[in-house]
Amino acid sequence: MATTYAEPLGQHAAPHVSTRLQRLLPKLVLAPSVAITLVFVYGFILWTTYLSFTKSRGYAVHELVGWLQYERVWAQPRWSVALHNLAIFGILYIVICLFLGLLLAILLDQRIRQEGTLRAIFLYPMAISFIVTGTAWKWMLNPGLGLEKLAHDWGYTNFHFDWIVNEDMAIYTLVIAGVWQATGFVMAMFLAGLRGIDQDIIKAASIDGARMLRIYWRIIIPQLRPVFLSALVILAHLAIKSYDLVVALTGGGPGYATDLPSTFMYAHTFTRNQLGMGAASAVMMLLTVAAIMVPFLYSEVRHSRATGRD
């Protein structure tokens, strides 16, 4: 499988300086990218981790203070709010995206006319920056101008929808907009999964008289387990990294009611002159993402090797 071409194949090639260069060339070409990764990904991770153990505030200092910055982060009510929000947002975002994504995929898999157009409609939010679509969402969620006003105009004067300015409910507006953005993506993953299922099994089951809902529940959905796992991992890491969404929609407010760890990190690093705390929160974000992604990537790479795709 892993054929090595780095060895010169042409025996007739004269042992020349240029041959040695040729042999080194592939590695030389790859080297800058490897160096970039080592420095700017892993080096920077170490650098930030180091900073998180120093006394740094407005600028980096080298006095080590142990876990102090982490303790300071955890002592902040704002951090608890951010974590609490991440839990609410993350769980709802993942569950609703999976549910709606699967539903849309199943609906689209029923020999639908205009399937291409519908797919494009469900997926376009992924192609546009949330800073852009957030502008529209903010407006639609604005009680005086958006959906609430629309309902009032239509005669439903009792309709209240002021979540975006309500401290307790604002986090759910992030869920709405986040789900709106990501479902199409989950749908595409499930649709690809559905199209990969052996149609004969389904035919056989339907000949046996099994009803369609039952076939889906018993036969088709269980076969989509790998897609569920992939989607779950991708959504979970997207949830942790969510940043534009908050900035565009609520700016973290009202107050800091819709802060997530990402906005907490940004605020402490760039506006509150707390480099050490910013670094500590970034390290905790990284560890959470790594805990999700590393096993997943590892199994994916191993799997691809085992099935001979490598």
Binding site: G10, V34, L104, M126, T135, L145, A282
Partner: protein
Amino acid sequence: MEQTWETPQMAQGTSFAWSRVVIYGLLGFFALIYLLPLVVMVLTSFKHLPEIYAGNMIALPKDWTIEPWVDAWQTACVGLSCNGIKGYFWNSAKMTVLAVVISTLLGLLNGYVLTKWKFKGANVLFGLMLFGCFIPFQIVLIPMATLLGKMGIASSTTGLVFVHVVYGICFTTLYARNYYVAFPDELVKAAMIDGARFFSIFWRILLPNSGPIIIVTVIWQFTNIWNDFLFGASFSTGESAPMTVALNNVVNTSTGERPYNVHMAAAMIAALPTLLVYIFGGRYFVRGLMAGSVKG
């Protein structure tokens, strides 16, 4: 499918039709909801301000106007300067084109080496690079800000191009590698026996067959870089900001009666490049999305 009280014969006929109605009804309903933000944005951007405050957000403009678009482009206020978003649009355009070209080229070469010139440890290196795609970028913000400052390219388009190339090559490498894995080794081997060298094999054999993956990579990188906000907000100030950062400022700086039509026009202008790419290359966008997520 559904139980009905009708005679069995009729039930079969009607229930079939009903399930189609339910399916199309649901799909249509969701499609409307999904389109709503875009529709609201487009409609509002063509309305006069009084009509916006008085009217209904999904009503067609009574009196169409392109003034908001002109204002957004030329006179909208970004922070304290009121020269519109045109400068920022070009910042983003320059930044995106350069970063996409460089990162795609590097990715293709990396993918070529990682599949056709494998050496011991190549897979480990690939795994290391792959992880870089998924880190939360908060972890690199502080060191990168420091470094860009020291290199003298903080708050410049050059700086942002650099950042986007650095954190883009893991994706471009991933795409190219997964594409070239399936490329027949025999062709490469045959060319080697004919005496072709590293670059000429790449140039004459791989590259002419890389059309689809180049499109996928370019579209993916274009969308990601154009839409980036975090790096733009962290590493640029004032005039050097990319479009997304400027848009966020436009939306948040207006005081008094907010010119929502101008905001929406500015948002549309910011969305147009990626929206057009999506409309014309949607197929490839989806492929990129899937390749970047499902299969590592």
